[in-house]
Subunit: 107 residues, 2 copies
DNA sequence: AATTTGCGAAACCAATTAGTTGCGTATATA
DNA sequence: TATATACGCAACTAATTGGTTTCGCAAATT
């Protein structure tokens, strides 16, 4: 099963769950109360998040607290890094210029 | 149709396309040559990327060059920002501690 | 001990999506 | 003008996904 961080954050409900548990670990029922959905649906989202290690479980009696593994979000940041160089140093403007010149030479 | 940046980068092929055109605008055919897939498949991915404005087209005769709209990636960075505070300032460790204390009080 | 509560897992369904095939159209080339 | 090339678009298929329902199990409550 293909499970990576990018696929996990693609779903808006999952992003909402991430935001919700970012400040406070919560049980599936508690999370479900915040949305117009069932506990089971939340449970499936939590499974996806757990599988890609964006979230970890902490059992406490019969309750399972879900906690955000914030560190895992660095993966996204790392991926963004290669493009940050481009947008920060405005290399893209340079690329545009080069492309325009190339087109004109063809004519 | 639900089209946002997060959904766009969820697909590994689309991330590969983004990487490919980041340094150099390319035509669908040129992009397709880099992958084990057809031009039409690439074309569909480019449509998704165009719809969420991660990519823009530049027609040149019968060729259409696809260019990365790097600025749009800032949207992802903005979203990450709220969590960056957490992982950088190690607030998560504090949260863990608070949660542990809470559990112990329950017992 | 019986019941309730919190949960995951499996079976199922509807919607979405990635990919293919087969068009039509516009630009370039012979 | 006829042909080849570059492309988007629509119809179709197979796989995936979000969600529901139902079940069983373990922990808590009565």
């Amino acid at each position: 099963m293909r499970r990576d961080v990018f696929q996990a954050i693609a779903d808006p409900t999952r992003r909402a769950i991430i935001l919700l548990i970012a400040s406070q670990a919560m049980t599936p029922n508690a999370i479900a109360e915040h949305f117009d959905t069932t506990r089971q649906a939340v449970s499936k989202h939590l499974r996806v998040l757990t599988e890609c290690e964006l979230v970890k479980q902490k059992q406490n009696g019969r309750e399972i607290y879900y906690e955000l593994e914030v560190k895992k979000m660095k993966d996204i940041d790392k991926w963004l890094d290669q493009y940050k160089k481009i947008w920060e140093n405005r290399f893209n403007q340079l690329d545009n210029l080069l492309l325009t010149i190339k087109k004109q030479n063809k004519k």
